[in-house]
């Protein structure tokens, strides 16, 4: 008797599950119906939307929502309204292929936006390759993603690219000898290497290169070692907490050398921790409210009006990614995935709120960083 009932129960559970799935399938097919030919254009959006690392995903979503709203207010893309199909990847690479397959299956989807984690994107790429669905990601910076797939693009700069840009920028500023300090992890190591290589290629000399641990407190020794070789500037490849402490140490040892940092140091906390010591420090960022271009100030106004807060750089990048995709669909003249991917590859100098956007052969973004300087406790666009 007990056996009977458990059998029945398990069969019932299986039946219930199939019914639920069938219900899903019908709703999914109605989705794809609405997106057909002259209907809506759907864009997939996936990122980590729950858990400890949800903030990137939620901020990106705000940028995407603003872009979609503006597109639709302006008559959509080629007269077709745009809608977003969103999926939470939970930051788990195991979900990467599942979400990718969901977007692949939905024929209304022309391109995919988002991605908080490189590992999730990497695990999803084989699936996107198989269905040719293009992706324009906004927050993943792993070097592994460079050239990983023909349909993968990103409008966020890689750490290596940004480090190299900084190296050239510093050399262009007339500095010939730099002491490098970097945080001992893949971020710090990545930017520092790229910086040093670019700086040396531009004719500069790296007098010393020292690593420090994230969370370190006393920087006396490495600052002294850095100063020992008479550098003309200091480059710090690391986050704001340590950067502020290094700057303080440097100033208290009497040095007035210029300090260069990375996007990891761009935080109001840099100033509150470093105070006068970080005054004049130069850093870079992909986007800043302080950059002051027309496009960016219009975006900032619209964003602030909609969400009642200043946009983060992730929101700005995702906004741009959406606009780039819209541009590519317009160029392609259809939502055919291969055509959209091709159009994305040939995007050239699209004017976004984070500057001009062009993708290189590896799907990485070419473009100019925004250099910022601490002036009176605020980040302002650096004087060229």
């Amino acid at each position: 008797m007990i056996r009977r009932t458990t059998t029945a129960a398990s069969l019932a559970a299986v039946a219930a599950l199939s019914l639920t799935l069938a219900a899903c399938s019908s709703s999914a097919s109605s989705d794809s119906g609405s997106g057909d030919a002259e209907g809506e254009i759907a864009l997939g959006y996936t990122a980590t939307l729950t858990g400890d690392f949800a903030s990137y995903g939620l901020e990106m979503r705000e940028g995407v929502d603003l872009a979609v709203e503006e597109l639709n207010d302006g008559g959509g893309i080629d007269g077709r309204q745009v809608k977003i199909v969103s999926a939470d990847d939970e930051g788990s690479p195991a979900n990467g292929p599942v979400v990718a397959q969901q977007f692949c299956d939905d024929t209304a989807i022309a391109a995919v936006l988002g991605y908080s984690f490189s590992s999730v994107a990497l695990s999803a790429l084989p699936v996107y390759d198989s269905c040719g669905l293009p992706i324009v990601a906004s927050a993943v910076t792993s070097p592994e993603l460079t050239g990983a797939s023909d349909v993968f693009f990103r409008d966020v700069f890689t750490d290596a690219y940004q480090g190299a840009e900084m190296g050239t920028h510093v050399a262009d500023g007339g500095v010939e000898k730099v002491a490098v300090l970097y945080q001992q992890d893949d971020y710090g190591q990545g930017v520092a290497e790229a910086f040093s290589t670019a700086f040396e290629e531009a004719g500069g000399e790296v007098t010393s290169s020292q690593a420090y641990q994230l969370g370190a407190v006393d920087f006396g020794t490495i600052v002294n070692t850095a100063l020992a070789d008479d550098p003309e500037a200091i480059f710090i490849g690391g986050f704001y907490t340590e950067a502020a402490k290094i700057a303080t140490q440097l100033r208290s040892s009497g040095s007035e050398l210029p300090i260069y940092g990375t996007d990891g140091a761009v935080s109001p906390d840099l100033v509150s921790l470093g105070g006068d010591a970080v005054e004049g420090m130069t850093v870079y960022s992909a986007f800043s409210a302080a950059a002051g271009t027309d496009a960016s100030s219009a975006f900032i106004d619209a964003f602030t009006a909609k969400f009642d807060k200043e946009p983060s750089s992730w929101a700005a990048l995702a906004y741009d990614a959406t606009m780039v995709v819209a541009e590519a669909i317009t160029e392609a003249g259809s939502t055919d995935r291969a055509a959209v991917a091709e159009a994305l590859a040939s995007i050239d100098g699209f004017g976004g709120v984070t500057g001009d956007i062009t993708f290189d052969d590896g799907g990485d973004r070419l473009g100019e960083l925004i250099f910022l300087q601490v002036d009176g406790g605020e980040f302002v666009a650096a004087a060229e």
């Binding site: 799935l21 069938a22 788990s92 599942v98 397959q101 969901q102 590992s119 792993s142 990983a148 893949d186």
Partner: protein
């Protein structure tokens, strides 16, 4: 012949559930509405395998493991490092031609994960509860941190990309359905093998350890070895699953294996029903599918955090409604159904040659045995002997040291001094499982059965020593073991008939009457084919007629060739069945002799009645 025909029918009905599930599993890619759901199903299969592996530890053996994902990591990285780092990057092979490497990776992962299981299992054998939990958690983190920080080998946080997909020759199995079927094949093999191991002496030993470790060891089970084996088996399953996962994803990095995953897999086991066979399967399937389904809900599209919240709520409600998990179907610990016809009662320990020791010669010699606990002397210096063919009564007032003596004799506690010789071999210092294997069985003062098992399964645990074997042989269900098991089952039937509880054979131990529990416990001890049986107050709690019936059972045990040491408070019983009696008081033997002699011994009277002296 009778044995065979009586199997046929239950076998068919038993196969019904797996057959239906297998059919659904095979047809699933055609039923599911899209490739996305096929990928969800493949992911569910991965979690089914992991949960089933962890269930060996948590559900069957009762060992906590909060770092189980570590074995999954070992498997996934084994194949990634072997295939990509070694064969592609170092030796320059084309990844498309490496399909033959897959079985090598599988074996490698099986071995390495097994070794990892050993390494984790060994130090945790002595730990229990909180300490075990922390230890497994720490081990899991060590493996994870190694995978993050040994950059040269594992690619660090970047991970390893370009792991070739499943393939046979030139045929790449990359489509969602192909992936699904490959992983399904793995899960079927794992479940079939697991079912074989569970319904074998190994599975019964695991459950016996979970139910009552001390009793398990008194049945001749080397409990530490079996706990280690549970770790190795669970780890191997996770390792193999890791290999499939890596090739399915074609990319792995530490983000795939977070601390949280340990808790998720553990939750799946508990949600589905820990210690059941289908629980982990049901738990993993429902969880993964509902998670994916919830993603499509409009409310979740707008507010992603609702999904996690809602799923958490379902778990909480489910745990309140069904605390034992969704599946409550009892684990099958033997695949044989047992004879239907009433057997002949056991007459003599079956299959033994005639005893070389003559009646009346000493079989157990206890020589000046003492045992102290800290400053307390439980046994001073006890000497006596048990002779072939007798029931030796052991009596003494409360606190005289009777139970300590029994524990010392059965290897539960080691004597502080003195020697115990059983049939020419020293048995003091042996663990209780070895004492059992030497031929000394025991029962306990309060009945200690494996409550979740049926009566027959309880008895089969008693036959552990002669049924045990190599795990792969049980996983493969070799006919030899099936034959042995059928024979043991027949023996169990006749022992039960002998003990007068044959009618109870298919009932769960916890459902028995008190009298039957006592008798089953004795029957289970007899299943070890003991030459000496130690009975610790078997009549406690019995009424007069039950006690009388017990007396004739004890006599019958002696007459069938097993010597008996009987501790009993019931003087009538003790005096009526004992051939000789040893009287203990304050940890010393104060009298030895026939019941009549003891009854008249002034020292005994003084001990029992007190003296004005």
């Amino acid at each position: 012949m009778i044995v065979k025909s009586s199997w046929a029918l239950p076998r068919l009905t038993r196969l019904a559930i797996p057959a239906v599930l297998a059919l659904v599993a095979v047809l699933l890619p055609f039923i599911l509405p899209g490739d996305r759901w096929v990928r969800v199903a493949a992911l569910a299969l991965i979690y089914i395998a992991l949960a089933s592996g962890l269930n060996i530890l948590v559900g069957l053996t009762g060992l906590l493991d909060l770092g189980f994902i570590a074995f999954f990591i070992v498997g996934a990285y084994t194949t990634a490092i072997l295939t990509v780092q070694l064969f592609v990057n170092q030796l320059g092979f084309d990844p498309d031609t490496l399909w033959w490497l897959f079985p090598v990776s599988l074996v490698g992962a099986l071995v390495l994960a097994g070794i990892a299981g050993c390494i984790l299992g060994y130090p945790t054998l002595r730990a229990r509860g909180d300490y075990l939990a922390i230890m497994t958690l720490a081990f899991g983190e060590i493996v994870r941190l190694v995978s993050i920080n040994w950059i040269g080998l594992t690619g660090g946080s970047v991970g390893i990309r370009g792991i070739p997909p499943f393939a046979i020759g030139d045929l790449e199995l990359t489509s969602p359905s192909a992936n699904y079927y490959v992983v399904l094949a793995m899960v079927v093999v794992i479940l079939v093998a697991l079912a074989g191991v569970v319904a074998s002496p190994v599975g019964r030993a695991w459950v016996a350890i979970r139910e009552d470790e001390l009793v398990a060891s008194s049945m001749g089970i080397r409990t530490r070895r079996y706990k280690l084996l549970a770790y190795v088996c669970g780890a191997s399953i996770a390792g193999v699953t890791g290999v499939f996962f890596a090739h399915m994803q074609q990319f792995i990095n530490p983000d795939s294996f977070t601390l949280e995953d340990n808790f998720i897999v553990l939750s799946l086991v508990i949600l589905g029903g820990a210690g059941t066979f289908w629980g982990p399967v049901v738990g993993a399937t429902l969880w993964i599918f509902f998670q994916a389904i919830a993603r499509d809900w409009t409310i979740v599209q707008e507010h992603p955090e609702f999904r996690t919240g809602f799923l958490a709520l379902i778990v909480v409600v489910l745990m309140i409604v069904r605390p034992g998990g969704i599946v409550s179907r009892k684990l099958k610990l033997t695949r044989s159904g047992g004879d239907v016809e009433r057997p002949e009662p056991r007459t003599a320990p079956a299959g033994l040659e005639p005893d070389p020791i003559e009646a009346g010669a000493p079989v157990l010699v206890v020589d000046t045995v003492g045992r102290t606990f800290g400053g307390l002397t439980a046994l001073g210096s006890v000497s006596f002997e048990v002779r072939r063919g007798e029931i030796l009564g052991l009596m003494g007032p409360n606190g005289a040291g009777k139970s300590t003596l029994l524990n010392v004799l059965s290897g539960v506690t080691k004597p502080s001094r003195g020697s115990i010789t059983f049939r020419g071999d020293r048995i003091d210092g042996l663990d209780s499982d070895r004492v059992s294997v030497k031929g000394v069985a025991r029962t306990f003062q309060t009945v200690r059965l494996f409550w979740q098992m049926t009566v027959l399964e309880n008895l089969l645990v008693g036959a552990h020593e002669r049924l045990r074997g190599w795990v792969p042989a049980f996983a493969l269900r070799l006919p030899r073991h099936r034959h042995d098991e059928a024979r043991a089952l027949t023996e169990a039937g006749s022992v039960l008939e002998f003990a007068g509880v044959w009618d109870e054979r298919t009932r769960r131990a916890s459902a028995l009457s008190y009298d039957s529990q006592r008798r089953v416990e004795i029957a289970r001890a007899l299943m070890t084919r003991p030459k000496l049986l130690l009975l610790d107050e078997p009549a406690a709690g019995m009424n007069e007629s039950e006690t009388k019936a017990l007396a004739s059972l004890i006599t019958a045990i002696r007459d069938s060739g097993t010597d008996v040491v009987l501790i009993e408070h019931d003087m009538d019983l003790l005096m009526s069945v004992s051939d000789r009696i040893v009287v203990l008081d304050h940890g010393e033997v104060i009298a030895t002799g026939t019941p009549d002699e003891v009854r008249r011994n002034p020292a005994v009277l003084e001990a029992y009645l007190g003296s004005d002296a």
